[in-house]
C-alpha cells in the first residue's frame, strides 16, 4: 500500500461519503414519516387503505433494494416515469425503509394496553390528541431498539446506490480498482470510510439502548 496514493484518494472518498450520507439522511427521514403513517393506518385498521398498506409492507420487505432500484431506474422510464438517479435512490430507500419502520412502530403501538387509549378518549381528548400525546411517545420508546437497528440497516443498504449511476463510496472504490488497479488502497479506504460512518453510530445506539433498558426497569 502506498501512503501517497491514499492521501491522493481521500478527497474522492470524502465527496462520495457526503453524497451517501445526504441521501441516507433524506431517505431515512422519509422512511420514518412513511413508517409512522403506515403503522397508524394499520393500527386503526382504516378500511381499504390498511389492506393496501399491508400489501405494500409485504412487497417491500420481501424484495431486495437492488431489484427495487433496477425497477425504478430502468423499468419505470419505459412507461413514462423518469426520475433522476438521486430521486430514484431516495424513493427506493423510502420504499424499503418505510415498511421496516412501520413494522417497528406497529409492534410498539400494539404493546400499549388498550385501556390507555380508551382512558384518553374518556377524558375528552380527540383521536389525534390521543395518537400524538399518548400512543406515539410510548410506541416510539418501546420500538426504539428496532428503530435504531433499522437506521443502521438502511445506511448499510445505501451501498447499492452505485447501480443507479450515483458516485457513492462503492462506485469510487470500483472505479479506482478498474482504472488504476489500486485494489489495496481503494478497498482499505472503502472499509475505513464505512467504519467512520457506521462505527460511531453503532456505538452510540448501543449506549442509547442500554440507557433505555435501565429506564424501563426503573419505571
Amino acid at each position: 500500500m502506498d501512503i501517497e496514493v491514499i492521501q491522493e484518494y481521500i478527497p474522492l472518498y470524502v465527496e462520495a461519503a457526503k453524497l451517501t450520507l445526504r441521501l441516507a439522511i433524506i431517505g431515512i427521514l422519509g422512511a420514518i414519516i412513511v413508517g409512522l403513517l403506515c403503522s397508524i393506518i394499520r393500527y386503526y385498521k382504516i378500511p381499504i387503505i390498511h389492506k393496501i398498506v399491508g400489501g405494500y409492507v409485504e412487497l417491500s420487505r420481501n424484495t431486495p433494494l437492488l431489484i427495487q432500484l433496477f425497477f425504478l431506474y430502468f423499468g419505470l422510464p419505459k412507461i413514462g416515469i423518469v426520475m433522476s438517479s438521486e430521486a430514484c435512490a431516495i424513493v427506493g430507500l423510502i420504499f424499503l425503509g418505510g415498511s421496516y419502520m412501520s413494522e417497528a412502530f406497529r409492534s410498539g403501538l400494539e404493546a400499549i394496553p388498550k385501556i390507555q387509549e380508551e382512558s384518553g378518549l374518556c377524558l375528552g381528548l380527540t383521536r389525534w390528541q390521543v395518537v400524538r400525546s399518548i400512543l406515539l411517545p410510548q410506541a416510539i420508546m418501546i420500538s426504539m431498539p428496532a428503530f435504531l437497528a433499522n437506521i443502521i440497516f438502511l445506511i448499510k443498504e445505501t451501498s447499492v446506490f452505485s447501480v443507479v449511476a450515483l458516485a457513492d463510496l462503492m462506485f469510487v472504490a470500483k472505479d479506482l480498482i478498474g482504472l488504476y488497479y489500486r485494489t489495496d488502497e481503494a478497498l482499505f479506504l472503502l472499509v475505513v470510510a464505512y467504519l467512520i460512518i457506521l462505527l460511531p453510530i453503532s456505538i452510540l445506539f448501543t449506549i442509547v439502548e442500554r440507557r433505555l433498558k435501565r429506564v424501563a426497569i426503573g419505571n
Binding site: E58, K78, T158, V191
Partner: protein
Amino acid sequence: MLQSAINVLFQGRNFIRLLEGLWITVRISLLSVLLSIILGILLGFIMTKKNPVIRVITKIYLEFVRIMPQLVLLFLVYFGLSKSLHINLSGEFSAILVFTIWGTAEMGDLVRGALESIPIHQYESGRALGLTEKQLYMNVILPQTFRRLIPQSMNLVTRMIKTTSLVVLIGVVEVVKVGQQIIEASRLTAPLAAIIIYTTIFFMYFIICFPLSKFAGRLEQRWKD
C-alpha cells in the same frame, strides 16, 4: 407495445432462462445458509464460553461483519483477497465465502442468544436429577433452543436470499444479468421489455421470500411460550 413486451418474456427459453438465473442466486444462498448453520452453531457454543480472549476475538469478528455492508465484504473478497493471494476466485465462490462468513456471524449470535435465554435453573435441575451432560443437552436444553432458533434462522434465510441479489455486482450471471441480456436482445423489437422483465424479477423474489417470512412469523407466534 406492451403486448410485444410481454411476448418477449415467454419468447423461446426466456422465462426458463430467468428461472435458471434465479436458481443461481438461490443456490448460493442455500449453500451459504447450510454452511452458516453448521458453523454458526459451533460459534454460538464458543461464544457462551467465559474465556476473555475468545470473547474479544468473537466480538470483533461479529461486529466487523455486521457493521460492514455486505457489498463491501463481497468487494473485499472478490477484488482484495484474489489480488493479495494471486488466485482467481470466481464470483460465485467469493459470494458463497462471504455469505458464509456473514451468515456464521449472524447465526452464531442467534445461537448464543437462544442458549443464554434458557434460564440457569433448567441446567441445574437437569444436573440435580442426575442427567449426564449429554442427556442434559439432548433432552432439555437443545429442544428449547431450537424452538427459538428455527423461526429466527428462517428469517435469516430470507435475508440471505434478498442479499444474494448483490452478486450481480461482482459479475455472477444470475437473474438480473439474464434479464439485462433479454432486454438488450429485444431493445429494437420490444422497447418496453425492461419494465416487464424487472417487474417479473421483482415478483420472483417476492414469491420466494414472502412464504418463508410468513411461515417464520407463524412459527414464532406458535412457539412463543
